[in-house]
Symmetry: C2
Subunit: 457 residues, 2 copies
C-alpha cells in the first residue's frame, strides 16, 4: 500500500528531516525587530528553495513588511491551502535560555527527545511537518499529491500587518476549498485534535461622565452623582446570578453545540481542576448550567478587562471623580455579530444612566466567531487519519481565543479551516527554552501523510 510506503519513508528519513528543520531554525527570523529583516528574507528564500526542490512553483512575494512564501502545485481534486508562519518571537530575556536560541540541538529529556530552539514549535517545526510529508510523498509517488497551495507568512508574531491586503490582492490565487493550518497543539498534550470552533471578540472602552470636574467628597459627598458608583452598578448587572449576560438579545444568535461535538467533548474528560489549579483557582465561575469546556470554547462571555477612575495613587484623596472608565470585551460564538452586540451593549448602558451622567464610547471593534462546517466529509476523514496515527480517538475541540488567520480565510477567501497541530502545553512558545518534541515532529509528519492520503490522493 502506497501510504505505508510513504510512512516508512518518513520513518527512514527522519534524521534528514530533522537536519533540515535545524537549518531553518538557525535563521533568526524575528519579525518584530527591524534588525532581523534580512534574516526573515533569508528564511523565506530557504523555504522557497525547499518548496521548489519538491516541485512546487514557489516564490517569496514582497509585501511592505516581510515576504510571503507562496507555493503552488496544481492537480486534480479538492484544492487545499496549507498555512504556517516562518517568523519567530524575540528571544529576550536571553539569560534565561540554556543555550543560544538560534543554535538548535536535539536534547534528551525525561519526557523524551526534543528539538530546542526559538521557533522549534512556533511555528517552524509545525510547518515543516507538512513540507516533510510532501517530500516523502514525492519520493514514493514521484509527484506531489492533489491540488496544493502553500502560504507561509513572515509577520504572524508581529501582528500580521500585510496579511489582509495580501489576501485581498491575491484572492483568486489563494481561495482554495479548504485551509489546513498547523499552528495549534494536541489536546492536553496527548490527544490529536482538530479545532473547529474559535470564539470571536467584540471590545470597547467607555467612560461614564458626571460633574464637570472632580469634587471634594466633604463638600459634595451624598449630594453629587459619583460616576464610579454608576459604573459599578452597570458592570455588576452585566451578568445575572447564574452567570448569564444581561445585554438584551445577547444569546439570540448563539447555537447549542452539535450533539456529535458535545459527545466528543464529554469524552475528553477535561481536567478543569488542574487547569484552574495551575493559576491558583478552583471553581468554574461561568454560567452555572454549562460544563467548563463549554464555558471556554462554545459559550459567549462578557469580561471587564480594565477599570479605573478617581484617585488611584498612594494614600487617599476623598474625591468624587468627574469620570470613570472601563474596558469590556465579549468573546463571541456561533453567529453572534459584533455589529449587533456592541450597539446593544451601548443601548443597555444608556438606558441605565441616571440623571447628570453621560456615556463616551471609544474604539468599538470586533470580529465574529469561526465555526467550521464539520459536515464537510474532509473533517471526519482527517479525524480518522489522526486517530489512526496517534492510536487515540482524535477530537473536535474549541478554542476560547481568536486565531485571526482562520477568520480572514473565511471572510476574505470564503474557505473554512482545519486547525491541526502537534504542539504540547510545555513547549514554552514565546518563552525562553522553546522546544518541539521529536514525537510531535515525527507523528506530525506521519499525520499529514495520512490526511493527504485521504483528502488529496
Amino acid at each position: 500500500m502506497s501510504l505505508d510506503s510513504v510512512l516508512a519513508r518518513i520513518d527512514e528519513t527522519l534524521p534528514e528531516a530533522t537536519d533540515r528543520l535545524i537549518k531553518l531554525l538557525r535563521i533568526p527570523s524575528i519579525s518584530t525587530d527591524p534588525a532581523y529583516k534580512s534574516d526573515c528574507a533569508r528564511a523565506a528564500d530557504w523555504l522557497v528553495a525547499d518548496l521548489r526542490s519538491l516541485g512546487f512553483e514557489a516564490a517569496a512575494r514582497p509585501t511592505p513588511g516581510h515576504p510571503m512564501v507562496v507555493g503552488r502545485k496544481p492537480g486534480p481534486g479538492r484544492h487545499l491551502l496549507f498555512y504556517g508562519h516562518y517568523d519567530v518571537q524575540p528571544v529576550d530575556p536571553l539569560e534565561l535560555w540554556h543555550r543560544d536560541p538560534f543554535d538548535p540541538a536535539i536534547e534528551d529529556t525525561d519526557k523524551g527527545r526534543v528539538i530546542r530552539a526559538r521557533g522549534a514549535s512556533d511555528d517552524k517545526g509545525q510547518l515543516m511537518t507538512f513540507v516533510e510529508a510532501c517530500r516523502a510523498w514525492k519520493a514514493v509517488h514521484g509527484d506531489l499529491p492533489g491540488n496544493l497551495t502553500i502560504l507561509f507568512e513572515g509577520e504572524e508574531e508581529s501582528g500580521s500587518p500585510s496579511l489582509v491586503p495580501f489576501l485581498e490582492e491575491h484572492r483568486g490565487e489563494l481561495s482554495a476549498d479548504l485551509a489546513l493550518i498547523c499552528d495549534t497543539g494536541l489536546f492536553e498534550s496527548s490527544r490529536p485534535a482538530i479545532t473547529t470552533m474559535l470564539r470571536g471578540l467584540a471590545k470597547v472602552e467607555f467612560t461614564i461622565r458626571a460633574a464637570g470636574r472632580d469634587l471634594h467628597s466633604g463638600m459634595y459627598g451624598g449630594l453629587a452623582q459619583n460616576p464610579i458608583r454608576v459604573l459599578s452598578r452597570i458592570l455588576a448587572g452585566l451578568h445575572d446570578d447564574r452567570g448569564r449576560v444581561q445585554v438584551p438579545g445577547f444569546y439570540d444568535d448563539v447555537d447549542e453545540l452539535p450533539e456529535q461535538v458535545r459527545a466528543q467533548w464529554q469524552a475528553l474528560a477535561f481536567d478543569h481542576k488542574t487547569f484552574l489549579g495551575d493559576v491558583g483557582l478552583s471553581d468554574p465561575a461561568g454560567e452555572v448550567d454549562r460544563t467548563p469546556l463549554e464555558m471556554i470554547w462554545s459559550r459567549p462571555t462578557a469580561e471587564i478587562n480594565g477599570i479605573w477612575g478617581g484617585y488611584t495613587g498612594a494614600g487617599f484623596k476623598t474625591v468624587l471623580p468627574a469620570e470613570a472608565h472601563a474596558k469590556v470585551s465579549f468573546r463571541l460564538v456561533s453567529r453572534q455579530d459584533p455589529g449587533k452586540i456592541l450597539p446593544a451593549f451601548r443601548a443597555w448602558i444608556e438606558a441605565q444612566l441616571p440623571p447628570d451622567c453621560d456615556l463616551v464610547w471609544t474604539d468599538p471593534e470586533g470580529s465574529p466567531a469561526s465555526v467550521m462546517e464539520i459536515a464537510d466529509p474532509a473533517f471526519e476523514a482527517a479525524r480518522g487519519a489522526l486517530t489512526e496515527e496517534w492510536g487515540r480517538a482524535a477530537s473536535y475541540v474549541g478554542c476560547g481565543g481568536s486565531i485571526p488567520i482562520a477568520g480572514y480565510f473565511k471572510s476574505i477567501l470564503g474557505m473554512d479551516s482545519m486547525l491541526i497541530g502537534f504542539g504540547k502545553d510545555d513547549d514554552q512558545i514565546h518563552s525562553p527554552n522553546e522546544k518541539y518534541d521529536m514525537e510531535s515532529f515525527h507523528h506530525g509528519i506521519r499525520s499529514w501523510a495520512r490526511i493527504l492520503a485521504r483528502l488529496a490522493a
Copy 2:
C-alpha cells in the same frame, strides 16, 4: 452703653486696623515651604508683640515645625479659647496673580472694597477680626474682656504636624470651656452662621484577589473568576435604590436632626440647583427622602473615591486581572464610630466573596463626626449677636467635610467649638488673587465685639 462705644471705636479705627492687617499680610508665612521658615517665625513674633500690646501674656512657643502663638488673659467667667492660623498657602501659579501676593492693597471692585493678598481671608484677616475686637474693647474698657486664651497655629496649611503633640503637652493650659474658631465663612456669602456639625471620615483601600496571575480571556474567559466583576458587584450593592448604605448597622448611631436645627436649615432656602449647576450637575443623588442640605451636612455617606484593576492603558488587552482595587470612604455623622463602621464594612465584603477570591485590607483609619452641644446657652447668645450685627437671622449650619482642629479640641481638650467666620465663597482661598472683603473684616470685628459682650463681659 459700653458695647456701643466699642462698636463706635471699631468703626473709627478701621483704617488703623486695616493697616495692621496689611503689615501682617506682608510677611510671606508659607508654612509648607522650608524657604519661608524665618518668615513664619517673623509672623509669629509680630502677633506675639501685638497681643502683648493688648495686655495678653503671650509667647511664640517652639515646636518641631513652626511656632505656636499662645496668649493668655486670665479673668472671671467662662474660659474662651480663640483659634486661628497665621500660616498661608503657597502662591503658585504666581503668573495668575494680578499683583504681588505679599504686597497687599485695598481694591475697589464691583462687589465692594476688598483687601487683596495671600492669607487675606485664610486666615490672617479672619484671626485679626478677633484681635481687633479685643483692641477696641481694651480701648473702651481699659482691659480685655473675661477669661481668654489665644492659640494661633503656624502649620494649618501643611497638615498640622505639631498640633496634636502640642495640645497633648499643654492640655492643662489650653483646655478652656469653649473654643471659638474663625476659619469658616458666611452661608452663601451673606448669612452669618455658626457651624455646629462637622462630618467625620472613615476610609480604607482594599483589594479583591483571585487568580495567582493575570489570565488571558481567550483561554480562561468564562471559566475563571474576574476580580473586577466581583468588586463591581460588591460596590454596586453598597447603596440600595433609595440611596441608603447597606453595610449592616451603618445607621445605628445616626441621630435625626434636632427640630430647632431642621427649622433653621429649611429657612436657609439652600439653592442646590446653583450649587450643583456650578459643577455641571442638576439632580441630588443621595438618599431619596432627605433634603440636599441633609445629604451634605447631616447624613452619612459611602463614596468610592478610586477604583482600578486590569489593563488601563491605551488600546486593549483582553486580560482577566489577578486583582482589583478600590478606595472607599464614609462621611460619618452623630455618634458613628469609625472603629465599628470599618470592621462592619469589611465583614460585609467578606460575606459576599465568591470562591477563589480573598480580600486585602489596607490602611483603615477614621475620625468621628463633631456635633456641638447647642443646648449650651453660649450658642444661642452668639447666634443672637451675629443676627444683630448682620441684620439677618444667623443660622446653625453643618459642614460636609472635617475641620480637624474642632475634632482635636473635643478629643484632646474636651471642649466644644463654635466655628464662626466671615469668608465668602469668592475669596479664592488657596488660589491666585485671594481677597477678603472689607465688609467681612469690618463686620467680623464688630461681630466678635458683640459675642464677647455676651459671653465674656
